[in-house]
């Protein structure tokens, strides 16, 4: 990693051209460029409009069910015998994950811009479900692009999207996962520019998406600050979240970036291991340009993009949001990784000890607790972003556990 001078604040980015240091930018085809500029303008206006915020706050409270609780994970805390572990319960939001925070904002923007047709890409299907949900609520047409492999491994979410009236389009190109779904969504957008809003699910893509999605997700960290103040009378000591594109992590981290005393850990998916197939773009990638932004990417020596692998469809992407790439270079966020196997073990542990079935994505964050929590004192306050619930993953977890089965010994 390059050595970069530390800024006075970590929270002022991006610059007006969408750059976080060398990362970010607007690397898109000319057909899309006027739309992206229009979106940037519309978002700036909405952000400055108190009525927009008021309406959004109302939906977040009454429809999404926010604030999501910050709850003490008592038995896990006891299990590790160190830091006091709190869960930020994004799994309890309507639709079962943090994704809805961002989708609500973008769909309100789509309405404001007069776009009747919404497209989205999805990996695990949580962003697709959230988009289908909000489009149903507000009466917009919804088309979700999903890699054919993900369609197979996340069937419950495919059915949910269909029940909500969305059209799910399986993508057969490339590795048939999230990267390919995003390519196909971009192709649709180029074709249907005049009436279509592209609702991106993570803090990636061309400017202003990484900034806008981050802003909509920051409610996670803002609530956590207030809730921790109320529970413990102070800020947490450390934060940990899983990172694929990184929207749940950015939402939790961003409001704490300038609190230098707060340690921040991002956990990438190490798949079969960092020396084999994985999805850890900071650990195993380098800066390149894909899907509208410059960021860490998994690629071959000649710049061809590598197919990622993770057991978790939501992390199965060869890139990461550009702001995360910047924070990784600055060292403000420490990057760790967890393998498929470690995530599966964490899935069982959390389900059995806390009565919470987590999505495989946050299991990657849970998997690193064993390294961090035990060495900390009992008054060390550690927050895990429990970004989604695991119902969607039961089939694939059962398959991977094989003979031992879901009810087997830990």
């Amino acid at each position: 990693m390059t050595v970069v001078q530390q800024p006075n604040s970590f929270r002022t980015g991006p610059d007006e051209r969408g750059h976080f240091g060398i990362y970010g930018g607007r690397f898109v085809a000319e057909t899309l460029m006027p739309l992206i500029l229009e979106l940037e303008k519309a978002y700036a206006e909405a952000k400055a409009d108190p009525a927009f915020k008021k309406e959004m706050d109302g939906h977040l409270k009454n429809y999404v069910g926010r604030p999501s609780p910050l709850c003490l994970a008592e038995r896990l805390t006891k299990h590790f015998g160190g830091a006091k572990i709190y869960f930020k319960r994004e799994d309890l939001n309507h639709t079962g994950a943090h994704k809805v925070n961002n989708v609500l904002g973008q769909i309100m923007l789509a309405r404001r811009m007069g776009k009747p047709r919404v497209i989205a890409e999805t990996g695990a299907g949580m962003h697709g479900v959230a988009t289908a949900t909000m489009c149903a609520k507000f009466g917009l047409e919804c088309i979700v692009f999903m890699g054919a492999l993900d369609v197979a491994r996340q069937q419950p979410n495919v059915l949910r999207m269909q029940a909500l009236g969305a059209q799910v389009r399986p993508v057969e190109s490339g590795a048939k996962t999230l990267k390919d779904a995003m390519n196909e969504a971009l192709r649709d957008w180029v074709t249907n520019v005049s009436n279509t809003f592209y609702c991106i699910g993570t803090v990636a893509g061309p400017h202003p998406y990484p900034m806008m999605v981050r802003d909509f997700q920051c409610i996670i960290g803002e609530e956590t600050r207030a809730q921790m103040q109320e529970a413990e009378g102070r800020l947490p000591d450390s934060l940990i979240a899983c990172i694929g594109g990184g929207s749940n992590a950015m939402g939790l981290f961003h409001p704490f970036l300038d609190d230098r005393g707060v340690d921040i850990y991002g956990v990438e998916a190490a798949g079969h291991g960092l020396k084999k197939k994985h999805a850890a773009s900071v650990a195993g990638g380098r800066p390149g340009v894909l899907h509208g932004n410059r960021t860490y990417l998994l690629m071959k020596d000649d710049g061809q993009i590598e197919e990622a692998h993770s057991i978790s469809a939501g992390l199965d992407y060869p890139g990461i949001g550009p702001e995360h790439a910047w924070l990784a270079d600055l060292g403000r966020v420490k990057f760790l990784s967890a393998t498929d196997k470690e995530a599966l073990a964490a899935f069982q542990l959390c389900s059995r000890l806390e009565g919470i079935i987590p999505a495989l994505e946050p299991c990657h964050a849970l998997a690193r607790l064993g390294d961090i929590a035990p060495s900390k004192p009992a008054d060390h306050l550690l927050v895990v972003n429990l970004s989604g619930r695991g119902d969607k993953d039961l089939d694939s977890v059962a398959k991977h556990l094989g003979d031992k089965g879901l009810g087997g010994k830990l």
């Binding site: 898109v28 085809a29 190109s173 390519n183 192709r187 074709t191 690629m299 710049g303």
Partner: protein
Amino acid sequence: MTTRIDQRFADLKREGRAALVTYTMAGDPDTRTSLEILKALPKAGADVIELGMPFTDPMADGPAIQAGGLRALNAGQTMIKTLGMVRAFRKGDSATPIVLMGYYNPIYIYGVMKFLADAKAAGVDGLIVVDLPPEEDEELCIPALKAGLNFIRLATPTTDDRRLPAVLANTSGFVYYVSITGITGSAAPDADKVHAAVTRIKRHTRLPVAVGFGVRTAKQARAIAQGAEGVAVGSALVNAVKDSLDRKGKATARTVKAVAVLVAELARGVRGAKHKSP
């Protein structure tokens, strides 16, 4: 500075006809066959050659060019081999302009300055890089112009009069008008709309305007050529390669000929147009 591209369009203007711009994917279905195709293009009637640099994630391309790129990559095509093809082509042809077309990441990873030097030395005349709008001109466009390469920009139906000057500012060689909002090889363009758009662009620039995306047949090429200085055909030629392959996806004796025959047909279309310089 007059480049091969400037020269070619100037010559064709004197002839009173539009240019046939042909796209072929470097390394499809393998480097050797691809070089044979490249060499066959001028004789078949191509005036300007776009040589595709394959990329795993071609976001602006339709199924034909996506598949062509993957065939090339699976056969082991790399940027070094693509530049090698241009060098080999130049040994027998010093007049036909070659424009490399593709996406930014393989160039960025090759190293911008090294890429520009190597491309120029190989005999490349211009670049079309789909995911570099004028907002990112510092990345490659400005260095390319300094290195003596043309940087050809795409203008699209969404590029309005207010935006056109920014799009044209650092464009050289020619302007590539994308005739539809969409990906390559999809809907067929409407010739009347295209002529109106070309006329609109010509109000802002003296550069030649070539039109592409969705042109497949000699008849379409003729219609487009009546109101533009160039007609670009890509997916149809890449499909001609595909249709000539054996069941294992390997080149056959028909492969080069299939492309040459289609190019000759398109060339007759372009040459048969009653060209009114727009």
